[in-house]
Subunit: 228 residues, 2 copies
């Protein structure tokens, strides 16, 4: 039996870490992919590295990206304020939106995947809590899957088909926390905050911290990172 390789987009946050444990449970050999694209919170990359090692990824690739959309998002431009206290919940698209990010990340995953023979691509996208991000919607993921299958050898030679797998797509944050707990995720390793302090501690006030806190509370699970 050949091992089935998967590329997994790993940010070091709760969702992508949970996704890694799901892929591992489902028997995939995991090739984790992270990006250094000038994001504010470089603690993410350190966490991603640790999570990949701890949970047995076959390899972890960190790609440096000359990200074209850098200056347009609160996550990459220090001049744009990170929204606080869930106040971006009513906006159509949050200020933390990064232009075409998942299109870009999935394209890199596909290019690497085709190179190493991994046609399953895992992404921790989740539509319920982040419905403002267009690139977390299932209709986008399906359209991308179709495009990449037409635009690669996979689509012509038919030997393998790319599958974009988003196992958390329909889960609430509380369900993700419960799933992660059942798979043994060490929550203390994950970093969700959009604006952590220099030691990597969460701010407790950004949208991501607020969602995380709510998720743990509703799941009845204690978050070792806690709120301060």
């Amino acid at each position: 039996m050949t091992v089935r390789k998967a590329v997994l987009l790993l940010s070091g946050g709760l969702d992508s870490s949970t996704c890694l444990l799901v892929a591992r449970r489902d028997g995939f050999e995991i090739h984790a992919l992270s990006f250094d694209y000038g994001q504010r919170h470089s603690i993410e990359l350190a966490r991603a590295q640790e999570i990949a090692r701890r949970y047995g990824a076959a390899e972890h690739r960190v790609e440096r990206l000359d990200y074209p959309g850098r200056g347009a998002s609160a996550l990459t431009d220090p001049a744009v304020a990170v929204p606080r206290g869930g106040d971006s919940g009513t906006a159509a698209i949050p200020a933390t939106y990064v232009p075409a990010r998942n299109t870009l990340f999935l394209a890199h995953a596909a290019a690497w995947g085709e190179t190493i023979g991994a046609h399953d691509i895992f992404i921790g996208a989740n539509v319920l809590d982040y419905s403002g991000y267009p690139d977390c919607r299932p209709e986008f993921l399906e359209a991308f899957e179709r495009a990449v299958n037409l635009g690669t050898k996979a689509g012509v030679e038919g030997a393998a088909r790319f599958r974009i797998r988003a196992p958390l797509i329909a889960l609430s944050k509380a369900e993700i926390v419960r799933l992660a707990a059942s798979l043994g995720l060490d929550f203390g390793l994950t970093s969700s905050c959009y604006d952590p302090d220099p030691r990597g501690l969460p701010c407790g006030g950004c949208d991501s911290c607020v969602l995380r806190e709510k998720g743990f509370r509703e799941a009845g699970v204690a978050d070792p990172l806690g709120s301060r």
Copy 2:
């Protein structure tokens, strides 16, 4: 009247240079995008720079890419031979195929485009002479256009829709040469060879040189780069 911005993928070759002149003729303000991804023929980038300047691009961005598919193609791996004398014409996909290249390039173009407000993306893809490349097919370009419109603000806010424009898609190489000549392209600036010598001169024997020579011959136009 507002100027309509376009991102144009510019390799420095005949096709993308012709594409630039078409976009300019059609009134677009051109934001040229090239990639430094470890390609063998770095002469391309110097030519792209010169072409962007000569033909009035508003700006020219060269993005360094940590290309994941590097080792898989004759264009990026010195250990893989560049096919000679049109002998890859019968293969399903040539050895010069780079994994998911246009998916990746278009994703970067979209991310940059969304950032600068350019929703028209020009690509010199051409299906007739390069039918072996899956990512030069119109069905791929259409599927990608659909995906990127679903995965960006454009798709949600509806203010602008991405258009992937491939004006050379159905032209033969001879037709491209004639079109370029009619638009005043200085052919001597373009570089098509997959394996140029250290001075940047074309080898005359690779698939790309063979196609170019045939195109000029059929168009009845003299190529200043000639064959040696």
